[in-house]
């Protein structure tokens, strides 16, 4: 490719699972002791990602695997993928926040990253002071910021408050100011990680236009990561799909989005938990989940009022009397939606294995992508819960077959559509 501005060659990034989070000398010794006795690492933590299941601590986990990528000057590249697919890691490597485990990344010019707005803003400083500070953090000299400051203030729409400490700003103003600094930086490469998710719609449009102009007229290169697919297709000319650390699709944006919706969202219907490492306080509890499956389907998409059939294989590690199970449903962003407990149904002897089949009717759930958590627990004397096993469950998607439907505003209305009320009376006013 001629005029390549960024090149990834054979880039991989490996995380060691037990290392995520700090360690103390004591943990190190525990780990060493456990290794001597060939036991499970007591300090192991479960990674955030869906893809770390089956890994033990000390095991390594590839956040990115053999990435080869060339990006040309003036290109706007979208990066999409599920949570934990490696999108942020890719940008972090490029921004030099952490170093790759293998491979080489080369680029020309400066990088302006907007990984999170307001990074480096200090509440006590005024908007103007923060512009200089943020500019310097992004690599601008004082003179460069001086030359741009009027444009920045104007674009940010914060002119009236520019000499007020930013701790008095609303979060919207905060975002606007932060974006404006980055957007006016003379960097050849601009990186945005979901910054547009915040701020009002009009400002989002303005930002997208600005990024487009920068790419089109000034030949800047833009890398954009987002879950909001419409903004990706609006801004980007090319798009890659990441899955489990690998590039699974690279091409025109619309094709990439189609591919993503088809392949990635369909998701898995089966998870094997046998080798999953649990946090230390779950190691010796009576119930252990071995496998879970959404039965009689090959994709995790549910239409209309289809029931969700969940089959689980469990093993009792100790004698168990009257354990309960609950299914927690969350949005893809992790916001709790609803929980369905089934109480006191589970008993068995140590070593015994059982299969459970549950049927959930979820007609009220509005369309969208959902994640789940599977939790086994005891109900204590005081009616609080004592968790025995708690794992990330199978993600699923709810769709409606009807073509036209009320456009649901989940941000304000939530994710459950309650049954319509019974209309008891509707007539002329009587008073």
């Amino acid at each position: 490719m001629e005029d390549t501005i960024i090149r990834f060659e054979n880039v991989s990034k490996q995380y060691r699972l037990g290392m995520i989070g700090g360690t103390t000398l004591r943990e190190e010794l525990q780990r060493f002791g456990a290794r001597l006795r060939h036991q499970e690492d007591p300090t192991a933590k479960i990674g955030q990602s869906l893809y770390t299941e089956g890994l033990k601590s000390g095991d390594t986990f590839w956040a990115l695997r053999d990435i080869d990528l060339e990006i040309a000057r003036g290109e706007t590249l979208g990066i999409i993928g599920r949570n934990g697919a490696g999108k942020s890691t890719l940008l972090k490597l490029l921004c030099r926040i952490t170093a790759p485990t293998t491979g080489t990344i080369s680029y020309n010019g400066r990088i302006a990253s907007m990984l999170e707005v307001g990074t480096g803003f200090h509440g006590e400083l005024t908007g103007r002071e923060n512009i200089y500070l943020n500019g310097a953090i992004l690599g601008m000299s004082r003179a460069e910021t001086d030359a741009k400051i009027d444009d920045i203030i104007e674009f940010s729409e914060c002119g009236a408050f520019i000499d007020t400490p930013v701790k008095r700003y609303s979060s919207g103003m905060y975002v606007k100011l932060a974006f404006s600094v980055a957007a006016f930086l003379d960097a050849e490469i601009m990186i945005m990680d979901e910054v547009l998710a915040v701020g009002d719609a009009a400002f989002q449009q303005k930002c997208l236009r600005r990024m487009k102009d920068l790419a089109g007229q000034e030949h800047r290169t833009v890398l954009y990561v987002s879950h909001i697919l419409p903004t990706v297709s609006e801004l980007c000319s090319r798009c890659i799909v990441l899955d489990r650390g690998r590039v699974t699709y690279d091409g025109a944006t619309q094709d990439a989005i189609d591919y993503y919706l088809e392949h990635e969202l369909a998701g898995r219907t089966f998870i094997d938990y046998t080798d999953l490492s649990r946090p230390v306080n779950y190691l010796r509890r009576p119930v252990r989940l071995l496998r879970a499956e959404l039965t009689d389907r090959d994709s995790s998409v549910f239409y209309d009022s289809e029931p969700l059939l969940l089959r689980m294989d469990i093993r009792f590690q100790e004698d168990c009397d009257g354990a309960s199970f609950r299914l927690e449903i969350r949005t893809a962003e992790g916001r709790p939606v609803a929980t369905s407990p089934l109480e006191g149904f589970l008993s068995g002897r140590a070593g015994e294995e059982k299969t459970i089949l549950l049927r959930y009717d979820i007609p009220g759930l509005v369309p969208g992508r959902y994640e789940t958590k599977f939790t086994f627990y005891y109900r204590r004397e005081d009616d609080s819960t004592d968790n025995l096993e708690c794992v990330d469950g199978i993600a699923f998607e709810k769709k409606l077959l009807r073509e036209r439907q009320l456009r649901w505003d989940t941000g304000h209305w939530g994710n459950i559509r309650l049954d319509a009320p019974k209309l008891l009376e509707l007539g002329p006013a009587k008073n």
């Binding site: 952490t98 080489t104 080369s106 310097a136 992004l138």
Partner: protein
């Protein structure tokens, strides 16, 4: 195809001073931010910089001077010279507080700033460098106060103290203080990333270190046969020479002064190389 920036998996041990200089504006802005933020919304403002050592000095004067009656002489020869206790404790305290603040601040660099360090790249050394500079400004304020008190004792009280030729070493002493604070701070910062235990150890360690430095007592308290060991602490020579410079009598030994520089540079070199090793990937573990 040639690229300006190449990121590889290999660690390079080189400190890129040129890159650091390119970010001098950022260093300056961080210094300014530290200063503004530290005193904003306080009634007394920068006065706090001098109140703290002033109170410490008063307490030391009472405790070690009037009650414990520890010597304030740095050498047997200086035993006869009268040094106002207040001035003695003040001089040690302002030097020590720069050292302990900078070591602690540098040691906590990664932990206190992990949010910003996790989002954007700039040479990581910018943080400790700007921290030690902004502490130097606080030191400047304290030093000005010290000079006032000193002038009072010299001019008004007519104490027998006077400036000595060692005052010419002052810039060198401050530079040394800065370098050693950063050196030790960087060592602790690098180790803390892996072992948080170091943070607790450091609090306690700095207190012990304080006792191992002639801040609250004169150097002549130390028996001659332990002197070599004692002088491994590089802060000692800085404080003792500082006192000699302003009191006109005291202790100076070129050999020990050279030793303190050797320890300073060794700490700095070790600190920088450890820092270099962890800075590329510390975000994975913090």
């Amino acid at each position: 195809m040639k690229f300006e920036t190449v990121i590889t998996a290999e660690k390079s041990g080189r400190i890129d001073i040129r890159e650091l200089l390119r970010y001098k504006d950022l260093i300056w802005l961080f210094v300014k931010r530290d200063f503004v933020v530290r005193y904003k919304q306080t009634i007394l403002g920068p006065l706090w910089a001098i109140i703290q050592p002033l109170l410490t000095t008063i307490v030391f004067n009472l405790l070690f001077g009037n009650l414990a009656r520890l010597t304030t002489a740095d050498s047997a020869a200086a035993e006869g010279a009268f040094i106002p206790g207040f001035l003695f404790y003040l001089s040690g305290t302002i030097c020590w507080s720069y050292f302990s603040q900078t070591v602690t601040g540098t040691a906590n660099t990664f932990i206190n700033n992990h949010r910003i360090l996790g989002k954007v790249y700039f040479p990581r050394l910018v943080m400790p460098v700007s921290g030690s500079i902004s502490n130097m400004i606080s030191f400047g304020i304290r030093f000005a106060m010290f000079l006032c008190v000193w002038a009072y004792f010299v001019l008004v009280k007519g104490s027998g103290i006077h400036l000595s030729a060692y005052a010419a070493l002052l810039p060198l002493l401050l530079l040394q203080l800065m370098l050693m604070s950063m050196g030790f701070g960087l060592i602790i910062a690098s180790v803390t990333i892996k072992y948080r235990d170091m943070m607790h150890l450091m609090e306690f360690g700095m207190q012990l270190w304080h006792y191992g430095t002639p801040v609250a007592y004169g150097l002549s308290l130390i028996p001659a046969r332990y002197m070599g060991l004692y002088m491994l602490n590089p802060v000692t020579m800085v404080i003792v020479t500082f006192r000699y410079a302003f009191f006109g009598s005291g202790y100076f030994n070129a050999g020990y002064y050279a030793l303190s520089w050797a320890v300073t540079l060794a700490a700095l070199a070790l600190g920088l190389s450890l820092f270099k090793r962890v800075e590329r990937t510390f975000m994975d573990t913090i």
